[in-house]
């Protein structure tokens, strides 16, 4: 992973000092709340329903064991012994006091982490594939480019007060595990004639007005990455709408101008700057690449005896089939740690769990941990012979539920339990669904099925791209939920289709179960996934059965 040098560390210390001064001026009254708000947001500090929340940036979801332990310490010292991993590969602490925030940030800065640009109308944390650097199907490690984008976008003097927030996602694998088509800018690495380049998509996004991103360049040479991004963001900064917060994202500008006209503006701007200071020559790429520590992998034989023996245990075998995928290096594996236990809030992790996971990463995983946008953690580099020991340790702390990618691997926003924007609570729906589908054999039989829950139309739970999407709406002070079917976030991204009127909170779990039962009855074979069945049959047969007989 990328290792901060003295320059990165100096910058971070200066940032902490600046925020300490801003907090002091807020506490003294020199800054009013309106003036302070964008400053605290740009440091990841939100005011929620009950307290300040600190959102800590985990650049492109990569952590080392020391950093994970620092997160555990912050959870213990300043919060209530846990943190919440988000769909943006970040972590949130929900109960921090304003006066203690600078200290928490100073503690994090010691290990090179911070809350910079996790909120505010600026370029946010660039997200990527949680399996980056380990996946068999990737062209090259996308984190090099994510880090280059991180540095370019950090306190960018021109792009810190954009019309609205700006999110970039990058994927370098055949399977898009970063949902690039639903970001303000999506980048997909391709290789053409031996050269690396990017497909550039703009104007994707969920929220109130969901759009799938449009490709405006199918192959951008890698040396032009930053100048092209600068051209896009400048076009947006100058021309994006500022009259209405709900129409201020770049997706609206792209939609209103049309993707072709938008692309022409970007290209015209880019031609003026493409050979300027942002050009990434090989030396510039090498400078960043040299600061990435790559594990010194030793290729080992696949399926060692230790693994074969352990597979005789059905519980281990079920977890192995569900949570472990092949690694690019022989004899290794990628392990996903489910943060979706039966009855638990999706994405929550206790300080003790973080410490144990950090220990395991050091002992068995080259010291690396990833945060997946599905709100799970990943040990990206585990030797196959160590899998039985890793499983026992993970199982002991409750992060080995074999439900990765299955119906109970629910993505959910924090909802009305924390968030001041939400209309409904979403975590309790997720908890009830995990209880209804608690049988490991049953969910394995149901197979791949993504359920996404958002507590309001801001869509932080990405319900538009859930195979089953659940959206909370408030009617006459009561919680209702709309269901959509058939959404997908991968390279064939598609928005789900609403099946009908909203359902009361008390009936939503039954309705989801009826949808699942309908699939089990109608699927062509167990090999046909839920999403494939919805695509083949359309939503009608599901719609008929979803609503309770009245």
């Amino acid at each position: 992973m990328y290792v901060y040098d003295a320059f990165d560390r100096t910058f971070l210390q200066e940032r902490v000092a600046e925020f300490r001064d801003q907090v002091a001026r807020r506490l003294s009254g020199e800054l009013n709340e309106e003036e302070f708000k964008p400053l605290r947001l740009m440091n990841g500090v939100y005011l929620q329903l009950h307290a300040y929340m600190l959102r800590v940036c985990i650049p492109y979801g990569t952590l080392n064991a020391t950093q994970l332990r620092a997160l555990a310490r912050v959870a213990r010292r300043y919060d209530r012994d846990y943190g919440h991993f988000t769909t943006r590969q970040n972590i949130q602490f929900n109960w921090i006091k304003l006066a203690e925030l600078p200290d928490a940030m100073a503690d994090l800065a010691e290990v090179g982490i911070h809350g910079i640009q996790t909120s505010g109308n600026c370029i946010r944390n660039t997200t990527t594939d949680a399996f980056a650097g380990a996946a068999r199907d990737e062209i090259e490690d996308p984190r090099l480019y994510a880090e280059i984008i991180r540095q370019w976008s950090t306190l960018h003097p021109e792009f810190t007060y954009l019309p609205r927030k700006f999110k970039i996602a990058i994927s370098a694998a055949r399977h898009d595990r970063a949902a690039t088509r639903v970001h303000d800018v999506g980048l997909r690495l391709h290789r053409r004639d031996g050269e690396t380049g990017f497909e550039v998509m703009v104007g994707g996004g969920l929220g109130r007005t969901p759009y799938i991103g449009k490709t405006i360049r199918d192959f951008l040479p890698k040396e032009d990455l930053l100048s092209y991004l600068e051209a896009i963001v400048r076009t947006y900064n100058l021309g994006g709408r500022r009259d209405n917060i709900y129409k201020a994202r770049i997706k609206i500008q792209v939609h209103e101008l049309g993707a072709e006209a938008f692309a022409e503006k970007v290209e015209a701007e880019w031609r003026q700057i493409k050979d300027g200071a942002l050009k990434l020559d090989q030396a510039a790429l090498d400078t960043i690449a040299d600061r990435f520590l790559t594990p010194d992998f030793e290729a080992l034989p696949d399926d060692p005896a230790e693994l074969a023996t352990a597979l005789a245990n059905p519980a281990f075998a079920r977890w192995h089939a569900n949570s472990v995928v092949p690694h690019k290096v022989g004899g290794h594996a990628i392990v996903t740690l489910s943060l979706k236990p039966v009855g638990g809030p999706p994405g929550d992790c206790t300080a003790d769990q973080m410490d144990t996971i950090a220990d395991l990463a050091e002992r068995y995983g080259y010291g690396e941990v990833r945060v997946a946008h599905e709100q799970n953690l990943v040990l990206p580099h585990v030797r196959q012979k160590d899998l039985p020991a890793v499983w026992r340790a993970l199982d002991a702390i409750g992060v080995a539920t074999p439900n990765v990618g299955l119906v109970t691997d629910i993505i959910s926003c924090p909802g009305l339990d924390y968030c001041s924007l939400a209309n409904t609570r979403s975590i309790p729906i997720a908890q009830k669904l995990t209880q209804r589908f608690a049988d490991d054999a049953r969910i394995a039989d149901i197979g791949r099925l993504h359920v996404n829950i958002s507590g309001c139309i801001n869509a932080c739970g990405h319900h538009h791209i859930g195979h089953i999407g659940i959206l909370g709406v408030e009617k006459k002070d009561e919680e209702f939920f709309q269901i959509s079917l058939g959404g997908k976030g991968n390279s064939k991204a598609r928005l789900g289709e609403l099946i009908g009127p909203a359902i009361p909170e008390s009936e939503i779990v039954d309705a989801v179960e009826r949808l699942v039962d309908t699939y089990l009855e109608l699927r062509a074979s167990p090999a046909e996934t839920f999403i494939a069945a919805v695509e083949r049959l359309g939503i009608e047969p599901f719609k008929e059965r979803a609503y309770a007989p009245r």
Binding site: D8, F11, E14, E18, E35, L155, Y161, L238, L278, A283
Partner: protein, 164 residues
Amino acid sequence: MPLVKSGAVAADPFTAVADGAPLPDGPVIISADRLLAEQGTLAARNGEIGVAWPNGRDVAELQPLLGRLSLVALAFPKFRDGRAYSQARLLRERYGFKGELRATGNVLRDQLLMMARAGFDGFEVEKAADAAAFAQALESYSLFYQPTGDGRRTVAAARRAAEG
């Protein structure tokens, strides 16, 4: 509203003149519309001319007139409205404007450094305390990740120098 130039509170020699009002002697700031409409007569004027250029207008329109202008004022209607940052960089870095680039409107201490990086060198600061803290605000960082036209040292340049 104190004007800060070269790190210190300075007297403002410019007078803002409304459209249609006669131009007094001495440096003036006029609107974009007036500048474009009266450019012929303005060319013959002796005194310095500045223009208040709106956020919604392309600064490329100004390019042919820049040689005649001593000052371009760009507005921050709210400090959260960042269009003037892009306009400033274009004027400095693309069109080579050498005169005063003045930030007006909701100009606050916590944005001064970014404004300076974008090319502003005159600041109509809203609060007197912010004007006093100007130098401190500009020194809160010693290193920057992005190359802009201000010439401040970037992290990339520092790395290259360190590598020899």
